[in-house]
Symmetry: C2
Subunit: 226 residues, 2 copies
């Protein structure tokens, strides 16, 4: 089946990475793929725009079915290949509720992280304000503390939604790893640090680790004061 | 089953409304519910915070399972009550891909709409800039035009993801209705206008129509120039 799939992706992008983790978990290695450069604006290239009129990565196709939104692609892959690889969305109501809940809370974490990391990229220079960036940092700090509390309440060695690796981890781990890459203190956020250490060793995650992070292991310090 | 469910909600909030539409579609009338006032800050009340530490609405519980994120609640309800009411996420790969894709694109529509409608509410007065609001309006205009194109390519009378009403409509319709409520021109966005007219008559939508919109049918003109 995987030869029927095509993924255009960018290195380090959490939305791209989560689709790649889902593909690995679902044993769908061997898909067609092309690594594109955001710096060279290749996400606006004709081949991407034909799949994704938003000009965003990932752009993903299975046969003739186009599923570019990363959450959409992850849910589609789990649904279509439910019995292949581990089940990422449990059937039991209790577990399923938790997986869905944390999956979508991860979008807020991603948003608040982006509001800080991409502030200077998104806001034209003439409009940048220390007060706005400070507020974004405070919102991200509160968000990170909420996740610390969530993890604190779980048994040691748990994943985000319970004892098993789930779709909550597929979508959220790239965001956590991104925060670490941008300098999140694992001393001040020890639960997130432990979670990061646990999941980074997972084969699906290692197999899809951003190549430019491997080449340049040194990250940024954007979040060091948080 | 529905007596085991509790929903705290606010009138007109698209995230609340989509959960209510999903409950109606899944024939889960009779759930416990409480209408709260955002103006009175009741979403920060103790009863909400106990369910949802974010202090946001909706706050939703089924038995002991808490699913507050609106997309999470919708997916949970469809999964747990798949054969009750219409199937909102089709099994066929082609149809399913489209439903998931449009579901998650609707989040971008909601975000860009919020960036305009809530601009003065979110940005402190001293930081407000005409240039920033103008950019947000341009981004929303481009987004609305994209949805016009999507609908244009569908057969007349279609829903967002095909001939059948689906989860894409459950999550997106409240956002479209919100845009109309805030003055979106149905002359300049005729496809969205037709879509709005089609779906607003659906029983699940009528049954959950925001009560304060019924009391005050006159909306705002925030988007009139878009």
């Amino acid at each position: 089946m995987a030869e029927d799939m095509t993924l255009f992706w960018g290195s380090g992008s959490p939305p791209c990475w989560r689709v790649m983790i889902a593909l690995e978990e679902k044993k769908l290695q061997g898909y067609q793929q092309k690594l594109l450069s955001f710096e060279k604006m290749e996400h606006k290239s004709k081949e991407v725009m034909e799949l994704n009129p938003r000009g965003q990565l990932p752009a993903f196709k299975h046969g003739n079915n186009i599923v570019n939104e990363s959450y959409a692609a992850c849910l589609y892959l789990e649904s279509q290949f439910k019995s292949q690889g581990p089940q990422l969305i449990p059937d039991s109501p209790e577990e399923q509720a938790m997986v869905y809940q944390r999956m979508f809370e991860a979008q807020t974490l991603q948003q608040k992280l982006s509001d800080v990391i991409y502030y200077t990229w998104r806001v034209p220079e003439a409009e940048r304000l220390e007060s706005a960036l400070k507020r974004n940092k405070e919102a991200l700090t509160a968000e990170l503390q909420l996740w610390e509390q969530y993890l604190q309440k779980m048994e040691a060695g748990s994943y985000l939604a319970g004892k098993s690796f789930s779709m909550a981890d597929v979508v959220a781990f790239p965001v956590v790893a991104y925060a670490v890459r941008f300098g999140l203190s694992q001393d001040r956020y020890p639960q997130l640090g432990l979670y990061y250490s646990l999941v980074k060793e997972r084969p699906s995650v290692k197999a899809s680790w951003p190549p430019h992070w491997l080449q340049n292991p040194q990250g940024m310090d954007t979040l060091k004061d948080l």
